[in-house]
């Protein structure tokens, strides 16, 4: 009887405590440093894949290689990069100091438009990389680059 009571009491105390701490962990947002690291990593992946396409266009064109790279770019573009630019990450250090200008965080819908343009051209590039010839891919690669530039010009700090 005494043991049963002890068990009940212990359960009554620990279950809410455990579930509470579980909730806390689940709700805990990623730290700004982590978000900045993720987004810097995402752009490094974009740089890798963009570079692959560029070198394929400049030298020997390998359709499979370009398709892999274009799919990777499209996947990152569709991943919801905007969530990595959450409030609180205006300044700070990930792998290095963030290169995003404070203006990006107050840009409102304009940042979203840039992002949508990038995603649209990235999807089209992935589509063409699988189906079209080198000339069409080159043309689309240029269009994609312009969407990179538009955002860099406005919101990426120059060293």
């Amino acid at each position: 009887m005494k043991n049963a009571f002890k068990f009940l009491l212990l359960s009554a105390l620990t279950i809410p405590a455990v579930s509470f701490s579980h909730d806390v962990l689940a709700q805990q947002a990623a730290k700004p440093e982590q978000l900045i690291k993720w987004r810097q990593s995402a752009y490094q992946l974009l740089a890798w894949n963009n570079g692959r396409i560029k070198s394929n266009l400049d030298a020997q064109y390998n359709k499979d290689e370009v398709a892999k790279a274009a799919n990777s770019i499209a996947a990152i573009a569709n991943s919801g990069l905007g969530s990595l630019f959450a409030a609180g990450t205006e300044t700070g250090k990930g792998w290095h100091d963030t290169a995003a200008k404070p203006a990006l965080f107050s840009a409102g819908s304009k940042a979203g438009e840039y992002s949508a343009a990038f995603t649209k051209e990235a999807n089209e590039l992935a589509h063409l990389a699988a189906t079209a010839d080198q000339a069409a891919v080159k043309d689309q690669f240029g269009k994609l680059g312009k969407t990179c530039k538009a955002c860099h010009d406005d919101y990426k700090a120059k060293d």
Partner: protein, 244 residues
């Protein structure tokens, strides 16, 4: 000489190489600005325009030492004393006036720096300067940042250049564009007659050779010739990469 031996005549101030340099530079800089602003696949054109500017500026720098008297830096050095004389309206001379000379020198320095930073830069999208491989990634990016900032200074100076020419043509009734096209400037000359601009052929060959040499080095061609296998193909067929 106040007895009035003043005759209007055409003095040859700008020789053909100087004029060709000027208008080719106008074309190359215009192309570089437009293609740089456009981005995307236009960046390939931007790189070529930059190389053209490298060759042209190299030519002009050499021409400033071995060219004709009106092209030589020593003959239009805008020293403070000369500038003061000019601003008081007492300057008498032919070729670049002292303020124009100052503008010429700053433009040449700015264009050289702009080309230099571009050659080592990369835009973090799809353009890499032909000499970027010689420096670290972080230095390359710093130079690119400088390239962007200097572009604004260049716009301002080019704007001033055009406005000044308009001012001379419209307000001071002194057409500066025509001599840069024809080579001849109509002047009221006092004797003794100023020496007209003449081209020295050896100097011309030397300046052209320097320009071509600059073009060759700036294009990164020597780097590629040196290390033919140092740039591994990323096409996926390279045997130095795992197949996955």
């Amino acid at each position: 000489m106040d007895d009035g031996i003043r005759t209007p005549q055409a003095l040859r101030v700008w020789d053909l190489p100087t004029r060709l340099f000027h208008w080719l530079l106008v074309a190359a800089v215009t192309t570089a600005i437009a293609s740089g602003l456009a981005g995307g696949n236009w960046m390939a054109v931007h790189g070529k325009a930059g190389l053209a500017i490298a060759g042209l500026v190299a030519f002009r720098l050499v021409w400033g030492f071995v060219g004709n008297r009106y092209a030589r830096f020593t003959n239009f050095a805008p020293t403070p004393r000369v500038l003061k004389t000019y601003l008081r309206g007492e300057w008498q001379g032919h070729g670049h006036n002292p303020l124009g000379a100052l503008s010429v020198l700053v433009l040449l320095i700015l264009l050289s720096t702009q080309v230099g930073t571009g050659l080592f830069g990369n835009d973090e999208i799809a353009f890499t300067g032909p000499l970027a491989g010689l420096v670290s990634e972080s230095l390359s990016l710093r130079l690119t940042g400088l390239h962007h900032q200097l572009a604004i200074a260049l716009y301002l100076l080019l704007g001033l250049h055009v406005v000044a020419i308009l001012f001379h043509t419209v307000v001071k009734k002194d057409n500066l564009v025509k001599p840069m096209l024809t080579g001849y400037k109509e002047t009221i000359q006092e004797t003794p007659h100023p020496t007209p601009a003449k081209v020295g052929w050896a100097s011309l060959v030397f300046a052209l050779a320097t320009a071509l040499g600059t073009l060759y080095v700036a294009s990164g061609a020597p780097l590629q010739a040196e290390t033919p296998s140092a740039t591994p193909s990323r096409s996926g067929t390279d045997s130095s990469q795992p197949s996955w």
